[in-house]
Symmetry: C2
Subunit: 260 residues, 2 copies
């Protein structure tokens, strides 16, 4: 599994406050605790493009995070200028998080992805909105794979985010996403599949159990990348356990090493 630690995100109140105050210590602590919990990448999100400070925030965050950890960074911005700045200043091969099929974003997203030696998260959102079935997710994946390989990416540099929807609103949405993950995995064995999984539990009490159940089912279906808070209780344990149950951990060597 590739673990992308999601905590340094300006939509979180504590991070927004740290950004506003240029509180490097808080960012350093958040980067370190994710690295210690087992993150492979540190996601870095400097806030909404409308704030007008996203490029400046991204520059500061890249400096602070890369001064404290050797982990590579997931440059998390839909703003091409902030994304380019993050990718340019990355010391190790980064992830661009994310591009989508929406027509006002696609061309520029493909251009940015093609300019740098990076992996790229492709969100399956399009002008038709968020996909909710298997067929629309497959069609959108195909369009993204064609666009990204056309821009010079290899299939194993692409991370598909299948768009998680709340099961509280539509009981069928969990099964649709797991079936879509299985179908994408069958069609593109080398592709990565991740996602902002926690949206699945939106509106429910004790959300972590729904997140953990979805994590297990998605890993079983072929998800191999997780955009998560690795410090949240049970998250890393469930990831290692689900990999063992899914047959991706011979003799459970990784599980035993990580859990002891």
């Amino acid at each position: 599994m590739i673990i992308i630690g999601e905590k340094i995100n300006a939509t979180r109140k504590a991070i927004a406050a740290a950004l506003e105050a240029r509180d490097a210590e808080h960012i350093v602590r958040t980067a370190r605790e994710q690295a210690e919990a087992g993150a492979d990448y540190v996601d870095v999100n400097g806030g909404d493009a409308r704030s007008g400070r996203e490029v400046e925030n991204m520059a500061w965050l890249m400096d602070v995070v890369q001064a404290t950890t050797d982990l590579p960074v997931a440059v998390d911005s839909a703003d091409p200028a902030a994304a380019r700045l993050g990718l340019k200043t990355a010391k190790r091969k980064p992830i661009l998080n994310s591009i989508s099929l929406e027509s006002d974003r696609l061309a520029e997203g493909l251009a940015v992805a093609g300019e740098f030696d990076c992996m790229v998260v492709g969100l399956l959102m399009s002008d038709a909105g968020t996909p909710c079935g298997v067929d629309d997710r497959m069609a959108n994946t195909r369009t993204l794979v064609e666009g990204l390989t056309g821009a010079g990416k290899k299939v194993d540099e692409i991370i598909i985010d299948p768009c998680f929807l709340p099961v509280s609103a539509d009981a069928a949405s969990g099964r649709a996403i797991v079936d879509a993950i299985a179908a994408i995995r069958r069609e593109w064995p080398e592709i990565h599949i991740a996602g902002g999984l926690s949206n699945i539990s939106y509106g429910l009490p004790q959300r972590r159990w729904v997140n953990l159940a979805a994590l297990a089912a998605c890993i079983f279906a072929g998800m191999d990348t997780a955009i998560v808070n690795p410090c949240a209780e049970g998250t890393m344990s469930m990831i290692h356990a689900a990999e063992a149950v899914a047959g991706r951990d011979e003799f459970c060597m990784n599980y035993v090493t990580k859990m002891r």
Copy 2:
């Protein structure tokens, strides 16, 4: 989900001691705590047939358990005399746990199952041993379903236990069992599927994470009955969450009710 509380089992040291001392209070407490945690049935196992006291133990346990709870009982014995006694003294429609395909057990097991108005757990073990793939589990299920319907059972009175094997010994065993559950569910939509799930984590540290991951994957594949300790941390939460993710809980009404 049908939850069968597994704790009153003489293979557990505390239960063996309570049986030996005829400590009714311990049995009462164990029955009640499982009922409070959400069990639908209380499993009652009076020990090894070789002890010579299994019938007598079963009689005492049935008395004590049924005096303290209105929940129906899963009569857990491979010994026909103990099983018959348990089924005969059951106040509500019980479960016979279990019969198997082993030739020294099958005919008598079918006979006992046919004599009582009960549900029955069919273990997929046969003279060939424990099944480890999908095809052998399907073949064994077919034989059991034919035998049990021949003995007068309806398909929805049958609970198939697909035989969980440790993933630490064979990394492919988790996927095989989940695929078998999905195949059995497709072929017999009304059948119940359960299992002594915790065997999957045998030999591993922090076993509960592997059990919880397997529970989520199995429920997603079509398991609808769980033979578990409902008091174990996370077990009931994971069951409710996995049902929601699997699309078996419209608007998550059950999850919300149980988790609040």
